[in-house]
Symmetry: C2
Subunit: 152 residues, 2 copies
Amino acid sequence: MDAIDLRLVELLRGNARLSYAELARQVGLSAPAVHERVGKLESSGVIRAYRAEAEPEAIGLGVTALIGIVEDSGGDTDDMLEAFRRMPEIESCYFMAGVESFLLKARVGTIAQLEELIMRLNRTPGVASTRTGIALSTKWENRPQPLELPSA
Amino acid sequence: MDAIDLRLVELLRGNARLSYAELARQVGLSAPAVHERVGKLESSGVIRAYRAEAEPEAIGLGVTALIGIVEDSGGDTDDMLEAFRRMPEIESCYFMAGVESFLLKARVGTIAQLEELIMRLNRTPGVASTRTGIALSTKWENRPQPLELPSA
DNA sequence: ACAGTCCGTGGACGCCATCGACCTGAGGCT
DNA sequence: AGCCTCAGGTCGATGGCGTCCACGGACTGT
């Protein structure tokens, strides 16, 4: 993981569809060299996935909610995680410090679907209570930030 | 935006580096037809970007925080947004219903950098108070969910 | 000095992206 | 009905790209 690797990650975070030839031009190496570096970044887990980002409203996911979960004193955290994982609406799941053990970001099509999701969450073993905040609008999301070497 | 477009978006949300040839095989069209459809999805804004997703720890962004912002009664929301936009650590910004007008997701390298960011936020005009939650771990993030036509 | 290893380059070859020409079906107009 | 037009597809050609391979230079440890 040197400066060139970091630059490659930065470029691909900005545009995952850049060709190896273009990446090679940007970092001053040959295409095969870049190909090998990116392959290693993928198999070592530094690069986890390449995803297209879609306008949520356009694909029927116009309702965004952030849901804090308070855990039962006797709850099994792993079981809860497994239950959350089986709910496809939950796009992100953070394990938090504080009273609320989890913070979930969910996207659904309608408020009715959100209501149904919250009821399912409240019924999930280990969940003591939920607190839901609705996002009126998403100003931006997953904006990539400039990267620098930890040493710098 | 028909069923084939939706399928293309779904495929690209799963893997943004799929070739047009591969997409064409998956949806049963020719590569040029897929090329044109994807181009239209991009220029109409349905597909906003293609991003590589990297392991945050590996790129020096090991600290994740979710920050709620309470707005001053006299605050200018647009000015605040502009100020947040200039802080690269803020990866996502939601305008929320509730007491806290904004919810921000920030990623930094160290707790010291987080402290510095929170101080900058508290100094920002329009910000009455902040409430920061630290993510101890990110279980998953931006998991794409299966899509279906709104009518269905 | 030597061999081994790592990491790069250059060349070759087949697949892919992309352009242009043509085809087909649906809808509206005369 | 017959025709025009347009949207959206297929097909074929071509140039660039991805990817494999053999080779070479710099560092390291012995």
